[in-house]
Symmetry: C4
Subunit: 204 residues, 4 copies
């Protein structure tokens, strides 16, 4: 047993059943459909130096399910849509009277390109009380054409925006940078090796 405890802070990880996977989502249930939003983690790649870099940004998975009967939703008929970080930015900055529209082709760049077409539309409700979300999926491979609508009130939209704003830096992986900041004393080493052209541009 020769561990050394140092100044500074960081996160320690033990192999095993620590920090198990956690599935979270936030759902909005309405008369004709339900919408569930789930964050998906970013991915990292190890560098030869032992450091890590972000390999792929995370995203939000939207799942739309039509109602089968009152308060029962048919998740077998669900349609999904993945929101990229920039699309999240779009929804976060959407004003009360704004609309937006995203087009996705899950087969883009593959042989089946163009066979499946997904469109997510977010538009203000006529009475200004919120927005509706509409996901249309046209799947020529399955000869399927689905369109699911769900109204989202201003309060529900605020909760989504709050959750989106919270999770966005994690989807970008910036939390991993933030957590890696150490309290090490850099006062000596640093003066000796100024990083030219980087960080001394505005010092007096």
């Amino acid at each position: 047993m020769d561990w050394k405890w140092s100044y500074g802070f960081g996160f320690m990880c033990v192999v095993g059943d620590v920090s198990p996977r956690v599935f979270v989502g936030h759902s909005i249930y309405k008369g004709k459909a339900a919408l569930t939003v789930e964050p998906r983690a970013p991915e990292f790649a190890a560098l030869a130096s032992g450091a890590f870099k972000l390999a792929k940004e995370g995203f939000l998975l939207l799942q739309f399910a039509p109602a089968a009967s009152p308060r029962q939703y048919d998740w077998n008929r669900k349609q999904v849509f993945s929101l990229s970080v920039t699309e999240i930015g779009n929804l976060v900055s959407l004003n009360t009277r704004d609309s937006c529209e995203f087009f996705h082709d899950p087969n883009k760049g593959r042989s089946d390109e163009g066979k499946v077409r997904k469109v997510l539309r977010v538009e203000p409700l006529p009475d200004g009380s919120g927005h509706f979300f509409n996901l249309s999926v046209q799947n020529k491979l399955l000869n399927m054409d689905e369109s699911i609508y769900i109204p989202v009130t201003k309060a529900e939209y605020t909760v989504l925006v709050s959750a989106f704003n919270y999770i966005l830096p994690y989807l970008l992986g910036w939390h991993a940078f933030a957590n890696s900041i150490r309290l090490n004393d850099t006062s000596r080493t640093n003066n000796a090796t100024p990083r030219y052209g980087e960080d001394y541009e505005w010092n007096r």
Copy 2:
């Protein structure tokens, strides 16, 4: 002693007196009443896989107490109101000139349904300097009818909104997802097993 320390980060938990319960609240004291806001944690359920999923969203407990004498409040006569995540969204997005109103029946779906009726009203103060909070509780079981008012200044409301915005992702359990993101190298495994239709919708 054969622990292995791995790259990556996560939270470690030791059985015992670690991370004890912490009671926090934020109070606003006024001439005729006091209002205390306390967050209540979300709940998780363990899955067979060892992962966890959110079982129940957290909420905010509002406690209103009438004044008994100057700077003394009668907490025995307190009335409580639980704010759901969506109701929190409502308060967070409330504009200076907006009102809102929530109706709760703590016995909903039980035999005593309708016997207790709670109404929380948040309305702008006439001079535009803030909002007042009014909780009315009509309890036919106890033949009791209480209504407690408390004015909340714009600055006090800002503090509440800041605290609400901070705590909302925790009430949704999204922090547990965020904390479970690992720095593992996923560069190899992932290319081998693309998750179809999920995360490749917008890649070039």
Copy 3:
């Protein structure tokens, strides 16, 4: 060695040189004065149960120093002002054209009450490019009368507001609640013991 590792997460603390005190501040240097803002931690009290409760909210310490010569500030002549959580809310919600003013008496409730009078004024700059902060201290005990002005640009004010918004939940102690949320499986215990009147007000 018979530690047990459990599911769930939390923070572990080792007696010793872990999480040392850290002094941070953010300073604005101008021609005639400098302003430094430093957060001060909230305080907790242990309960008999082993839990903790917030005992005292944290605050922000503002320190104003007049310039002695170009880019030199006379910190011996500094004047300080402690911003409470609600006063922070006031500054955070201040619009471009708004002013605010806080009066403090550090001896309030003591024999020297009224002998020292501090006034912090935050007012828009005439050209709309930001606000100035003015701290006036009248100290009859020392026969001293100081007034320090410092202009703060819109960008500098944005940085302050961002830092204030970040730190506010910590000053309220809500981070300690947030960090104490565990991933424990509550699915069984909870159905058995519904918390009456608290959290079932809005469930279907």
Copy 4:
């Protein structure tokens, strides 16, 4: 083995491969150029007391690369610009119709002062759909004159602002203060030693 586990929380650090460096950035790729934003950590200095203080605020490194061919960027010709905390505040508070401009001289205060001149301009796009970023670098030492433009949509700008707002308190080092707040019981010690003139200004 005589560790003691105490109440309270904090971060534990193990010397070794824990909390490795993590490189994160967020990139915007357009037809004629790419822009990458990377946070750089603040620096701390150890005090004789064992405490730490912030020695230098962190910053954001902007990297602009011109396109070499479709979807290929020439990072050898990249130009960099370091955004200070206040400049970040400027970008965060920029309205849809606002512009801003920053001038940097990486050699300021050295013999080559004035030889390199960098200007970052952020201006609204003519159609109001976002802003363009323009970095001009005039380097008399290398007889080089580069100017790189990249349009940034409103949604992309929202993502930047969200990331900037998240990272700003870390660049200020305030997270280290926040993480050092302990759950220690201060109820006894504190009453004995009131900190005069600091924290009792507004207590009743």
